[in-house]
Symmetry: C2
Subunit: 117 residues, 2 copies
């Protein structure tokens, strides 16, 4: 699970790889087509597809000389769940900090009022 999250987030950390996923979301494509679309060498595109394949985000199939890429079985459920949980933590944490700041501001004001008397 940890390694799956690691591999998926690492795969998503590159704009070309995110672009390839979006492209394959519209339809299967060969490595050559992807290389052309992203103005990249075949070798470069093969590497990116390899990273996506390892992360389970893409599957490839070779028929004759053409390797066709398709979206893989992973729907990024766990990654979405992790981000969801993180945002909940974040919200709770900043609510908490906000309350601390409010409390401090209130105290400061009442101290000031006391000093003025």
């Amino acid at each position: 699970m940890t390694t799956r999250l690691d591999a998926a987030f690492a795969a998503l950390s590159d704009p070309t790889r995110r672009g390839v996923l979006e492209q394959l979301g519209r339809g299967d494509a060969s490595i050559t087509e992807l290389a052309e679309r992203f103005r990249m060498t075949l070798t470069g595109m093969k590497k990116h597809v390899g990273v996506l394949e390892q992360a389970g985000l893409v599957t490839t199939r070779k028929i004759g000389r053409v390797r066709t890429c398709r979206l893989g079985p992973r729907r990024l459920e766990e990654e979405t769940a992790w981000l969801e949980r993180y945002r909940q933590l974040w919200d709770a944490r900043f609510d908490e900090l906000e309350q601390v700041v409010e409390e401090l501001t209130r105290q400061e004001r009442s101290d000031e009022r006391r000093r003025r008397k």
Copy 2:
């Protein structure tokens, strides 16, 4: 925007860094405390915190000799939005493929029936 997504996803691709974010979601902590909790050298933890800081996921503040870490300003909105969009593409793509498979199965069956006549 692209570089922000790149940096955030890269920062999330490590289990210690994800753990640090979860930890800081529960409360601020010094680098020393984090290093102890994750059984890591100070140097190692400083590197991880540096990556999180660069991605806007953590802010640090040095008071005297202690550097305290806190969750940063980024709530991972764009990253969540990207994953959301990807899952929609994924669902649409697999619905489409499913229909193609159903259509092929239907044709095969009717061909078979014709052959049997």
